[in-house]
Assembly symmetry: C2
Homo-oligomer: 139 residues x 2
DNA sequence: TTGCGTGCAAAGGTTTTGCATGGCA
DNA sequence: TGCCATGCAAAACCTTTGCACGCAA
């Protein structure tokens, strides 16, 4: 992996702060841009945000997805040692919240897929969509 | 659904033919464009292809996805009465082939997600990624 | 002083839209 | 004939790239 030397800057710190405080949703580059502007009156060029997010994705700090319409890249902060690479995530199409399928059944599911469908699942690339409990109650 | 009147044209016929004959993969607009050019020497503007695919997606003839890099829209032909809306699909990131998780375990999986994670899965919006058997053998 | 971080402008790629024309029924 | 289908050009977006300058260590 070769430790990539990194400087500590306010912009990067604030971007990461934002990601950490929104680890239950997918965030977009624009959301980060606006939030930093609103919360700290801090202007950060989107190029800068894109580049930093790329690095974070490379080193595994965030997962890069695509929104359910396939138009925009979204980024999900991964809590260290949460093993998010070995379980699936479910995203609510209504509220956008992300739920972790972090349970024993997950192993069973992966085994089934491997045994019966001869398929090796890559959780970090996959995303399940649907509607969460609180959203389906509020219809 | 209000029957949308449709005229039968050669271009639409050929587009649908191509989709049908590639129902085990995701296809892109460009692939359709090139295939029609190569196979039938038929030039079809991409706007036309986009618009027709939108209609097919609306009426449920194809599923619209996004490729694993989140850059390009892809379309998957749905065999009628195959109940593709009620089971998940797995796409091999190596060969691109799509596998249907059309088995009894699928129900179990949906039930688990509903019971233990309070989440209603929407299969047609979801896609699992991984590596299929033939591809993992050819490494 | 070194080399990473940042901003700006431009380029690249995909998808959508407006408008005029073509063609099925 | 009446609409739908199509092509073309332009626009709209999102994302990436090149280059010059800024700044942490």
């Amino acid at each position: 992996m070769g430790e990539n030397k990194k400087y500590s800057t306010e912009k990067r710190t604030k971007i990461l702060d934002y990601l950490k405080s929104h680890d239950d949703v997918d965030v977009t580059v624009k959301e980060i841009e606006y939030a930093l502007k609103d919360n700290y009156d801090l202007s950060v060029n989107i190029t800068t945000i894109y580049r930093y997010l790329d690095k974070l994705a490379e080193e595994g700090t965030v997962l890069k997805h695509t929104d359910e319409n396939g138009k925009t890249s979204t980024y999900q902060y991964i809590v260290p040692e949460s093993e998010c690479n070995s379980h699936l995530h479910m995203k609510c199409v209504s509220c956008g919240r992300i739920y972790h399928m972090d349970c024993a059944f997950m192993d069973e599911f992966k085994k089934h897929i491997y045994k019966h469908h001869q398929f090796i699942l890559e959780c970090k690339k996959s995303m399940l969509y649907g509607v969460c409990n609180s959203c389906s109650n509020n219809v």
